[in-house]
Amino acid sequence: MTEQPILQVKNMNKQFGTGCVNCLDHPEYLEKNYCPTCGTVYACRAINLEVFEGEILGIVGESGSGKSTLMQTLYFDQAVTSGEYYLDKYKSGQVNLYEAGVYQQKEVRNMLLGMVYQNPMLGLRMKFSSIANIAEKMIAANHRNVGEMTERGQELLDKVNIPIFRAKEAPQNFSGGMQQRVQIAKALSNKPPVLLLDEVTTGLDLSVQADVLDLIKTIQRDLKISMIVVSHDLSVIRMLADRTMVMYNGEVIEEGLTDQVLEDPQHAYTQQLVYSLL
């Protein structure tokens, strides 16, 4: 018996612009992923990915390679041009979530997914208390009990090493690392089976980075949550990811076990990426 993936994306495409006779069906005409005639950007091209239970999938690639766009479509921040998206936990993986209604997407987003953005401004309400930020996702999932939500919020803040006495403080008073940890606590509030992490350690100093990475690793080990981790930092990927995908100009050019990809890169771009590591 083969194991079933809990998250599956098939042949996903995302383009910005309508395309023209020159570029549609002629990928060789493009300059990188950009059509010089009509200006259409092909941000993601025929992406396939699978994530299994408890595993961390790493996605690496340079700026503009389509990593963040891919993540945003997984969290329904952006619509795709075409493609299929299935979650094992949602109607037994029978519904293509990219084509599902807004209500269904909202439900999946609130109940089955957690997202941690690179910029905490996107994921948090900076002027609301930290505990309210965590409660927001639970309220969206129709929880209406203040006592229960406060208790769960404090439990999560404790898990991400934020002292309980600062729970009523707004994230705008916190350091970058603490803000990221509040975001992680918020993402975990509804015990989602899948966590999406978009460049979570970028912009943090080294000791704080280590802190946050340690936390992510602990969460994965204790809660058996599957994760997709996007980063351009290979050492982050090396530390966290079981499997890795390399994206370049909107395409997946290489994928495999993280050790294999990083130690024995096959594609020219991956080789350049690995050897340019300082």
Binding site: K106, S129, A135, E136, R144, V146, G147, K168
Partner: protein, 283 residues
């Protein structure tokens, strides 16, 4: 030379458009229907929404009452009443149960409405989500998807900070189990009066160009949490100094001689009726 003004000031086409808007508002309880707010001889933001609704509905048989924060005699109430009577010749009253049209700023009268009566509330900000979301397009989408979690979040934050809801007026409600609605800045003491009310309640925002409605016998529920249920302002242990009434919305005033605080019924026509009853005066 004298020019004849149209009955109820507005021209017939404007009144027809406003009445059509009102019909749509009644058909979708709690939904804000846009309308072409007309210019009036008073500035927008001074009750023009309520006034346009009143002027569009008033007929020769109507009896009109105008209140401003519980008072029939404040400058605002008197002038709006004057404008309606000067342009229509209808009779006015201070007694809630005698009126057919009641225009009010920031209060629902203490005397319950009956079938056939219409309460018109003046609204400064009709959008209950405006404070958390400045974009009209976004709030429209939120209403379309009934995505109101942010209002509960707001309430949650107040409970975390102050141990209770800190909104005293304009406390948001869910109408007919569907739309989140700003009840206009009535004290939250008045919120329960909207629920299953026998009269028709219309809300008009002139500056924001929106009309919405709570039809008779509609469910209206103030937002709350299971363990922090909605509560009205508490006047426990306080009573009106003149009438002794306790189950009404009270104003706190200061006795200039003794410096002590005392309380009076905010709804002044109701206080007058109570006093007359107590002293055996009729009429």
């Amino acid at each position: 030379m004298t020019t004849r003004r149209n009955f109820a000031f507005l021209d017939e086409n404007s009144k027809k458009e406003i009445r059509r808007t009102i019909l749509k508002a009644i058909a979708i309880p709690g939904y804000q229907v846009p309308f072409a707010s007309r210019e009036l001889p008073i500035a927008r933001g001074w009750g023009t929404g309520g006034l346009q609704v009143s002027l569009s509905l008033v007929g020769t048989e109507d009896v009109v009452k105008v209140i401003d924060q519980g008072s029939d005699e404040s400058v605002n109430a008197v002038n709006i009443k004057k404008m309606i009577t000067d342009t229509t010749g209808v009779t006015t009253t201070v007694h809630t149960d005698e009126a057919t049209l009641i225009q009010s700023r920031h209060r629902v009268p203490e005397v319950p409405l009956k079938e056939g009566q219409t309460l018109i509330l003046q609204v400064p900000i009709p959008e209950p989500l405006r404070e958390v979301e400045p974009s009209e397009q976004k709030t429209k989408e939120m209403h379309a998807h009934a995505d109101y979690s942010v209002s509960w979040l707001h309430l949650f934050e107040q409970i975390v900070k102050y141990g209770q809801a800190s909104m005293h007026a304009d406390y948001p409600v869910i109408v007919n189990n569907r739309y989140l609605m700003a009840p206009s800045p009535i004290p939250r003491f008045d919120n329960p009066k909207l629920h299953q009310n026998e009269g028709l309640i219309l809300l008009g925002a002139g500056r924001e160009k929106k009309i919405y409605a709570v039809p008779p016998y509609t469910n209206v529920k103030s937002i709350d949490f299971e363990d922090y249920p909605f509560e009205r302002e508490s006047f426990v242990g306080k009573a009106c100094r003149l009438t002794g009434a306790t189950d009404v919305y009270l104003d706190e005033l200061k006795d200039e001689e003794t410096g002590e605080a005392y309380y009076l019924i905010n709804d002044q026509s109701y206080m007058l009726e109570l006093l007359n009853k107590q002293e055996g005066v009729t009429g």
